[in-house]
């Protein structure tokens, strides 16, 4: 059952300060309303994973590991590989995270990242089929939140995309439906680069890439995931208050621009050969 959260209290003076700054188009850390905190992504941080990446978005740190296994396809998609996204809000990341099975926030985070990857067809699942109806590759994307300072969705999704782009599996050939590995590595079949842009609304002002303080006083949250062609592939609204249609329209325009900026940053850092696409 989902309950109204008992949010970490924020002092009245902090709240007042934050809102007064916002009314003048300013933020606590000096950013503009549509500025991201600077981010860096380190790749291949875990040798035992097929792919991995760690993002630092301001002080938020998220690690993503990719593991690829062979298993059975789902009965309704017998000729497609399987993509599984899971998120752990590890208790070391915040005083408010507790050990135990994923709560609704962890599940929402994983499902929003999943939706972006799945609906944009970032992974070509058809190419991950080994023998129709029997054997396919299962790609596990595990999101590990290490330090929580706001905007987990964008940090996790960008780290997940980087980890997928750099992941390697053993080259293979299929003889009579049997899988025979070769002694070299190939990348995963990636064909799209979805990037989410998360907004929060505070006192009728929209801002991107919320810090933890901004998330604490937010009225509503909106994530728009944009694919490489500027199409929308996933949307999620959160928070206790409403959004107007004007706000949605404004957010869409900003998201298209910001997602393309962040996508270029990621692909350039990776020297991705298809970055010009």
């Amino acid at each position: 059952m989902s309950s109204t959260p008992n949010l970490t209290p924020i002092t009245k003076i902090e709240r007042k300060n934050l809102i007064e700054l916002l009314n003048n188009g300013k933020r606590l850390d000096g950013r503009g309303l549509t500025d991201y905190r600077s981010f860096t992504i380190e790749k291949n941080v875990i040798e035992k994973a097929n792919g991995s990446a760690q993002i630092k978005l301001g002080k938020t740190k998220v690690m993503v590991g990719i593991k690829v296994e062979v298993g059975e396809p789902f009965s309704d998609t017998p000729d497609e590989g399987v993509l599984m996204v899971n998120a752990e809000l590890v208790p070391l990341a915040s005083p408010t995270f507790e050990p135990g099975p994923p709560d609704e926030n962890a599940i929402e985070l994983a499902r929003v990242v999943d939706r972006g990857l799945r609906e944009s067809k970032a992974l070509d699942l058809k190419k991950l089929c080994i023998k129709e109806g029997e054997k396919v590759f299962i790609v596990f994307v595990d999101i590990y939140v290490l330090d929580y300072d706001g905007n987990l969705i964008d940090a996790s999704a960008m780290a997940a995309l980087t980890a997928l782009l750099t992941a390697k599996i053993k080259a293979y050939e299929i003889k009579n439906g049997e899988l025979i590995y070769k002694n070299e590595f190939i990348p995963l079949p990636i064909q799209n680069y979805p990037i989410p842009v998360t907004f929060v609304k505070i006192n009728n002002t929209l801002l991107v890439d919320p810090s933890i303080e901004e998330e604490r006083v937010m009225d509503a949250r909106l994530t728009l995931t944009i694919d490489k062609d500027g199409k929308i592939c996933a949307i999620q609204k959160g928070g206790l208050k409403e959004l107007t249609l004007n706000e949605i329209e404004k957010a869409v325009n900003i998201a298209v621009e910001k997602s393309s900026e962040n996508r270029n940053k990621i692909l350039e850092a990776l020297n991705w050969e298809e970055q010009k696409r």
């Binding site: 989902s2 109204t4 599940i107 609204k237 409403e242 107007t244």
Partner: protein, 250 residues
Amino acid sequence: MLAAKPIKLINEDGLRVDGRKPNELRPLKLEVGVLDKADGSAYVEQGKNKILVAVYGPREAHPRHMGLPDRAVLRCRYHMAPFSTEERRSPAPSRRDIELSKVIREALEPAVISEMYPRTTIDVFIEVLQSDGGTRCAGITGASLALADAGIPMKDLVVACAAGKVDGKIVVDLCDLEDKYGEADLPIALMPAFNALTLIQMDGLLTLNEFYEALNMAKEACKIIYERQKQALKSKYYQIKELIETEGEK
């Protein structure tokens, strides 16, 4: 058995798998006060969807530390019956159910004036008895009726409906097949009096123009359902009025 993908989701005449036009809603039945023990309740049929909603509260938070000092705690459970889908589903809450419980709660929160009942909980139970696509929307439409039926003060009714893209066309109120095999699904929830969105989700691929077309279509559909919601609430009291009058004649 899983329903196979029909060859065409939209035929030569531009009609959909169930014969509807792109902007046509499914048959809708809304009833209020259908459960005896609940403080408020509602029943929704939208296409083959059959959904029961019960509201309990405001009641003392239990355990007491669960309560909040300045407002009521809204709790929401969205659940699908094991027999509600083609294949039996486990009665344990799935990850989808957990996410939907959260977004449905957040769709109702803006409407409920929870400051009036500090230290209490208001529980909303949504039970999907049969599912036919668009259950989160039908669940929200029913939940706001059940809240109103329980006499809980609200800024407005919340009404929800989805639009999406099927065979390249933007259509409203997607059924199961369209949801499964269509290209995009955009559920929204609206407080019509404020023109404010309390839920918006999307999966699929839409260009910006398609997105705005779908958003508009879903919004117009919400306004139609909103009128039906008000009728449903009133009709309960007309029934009571008639009952009292006939009793009085005896």
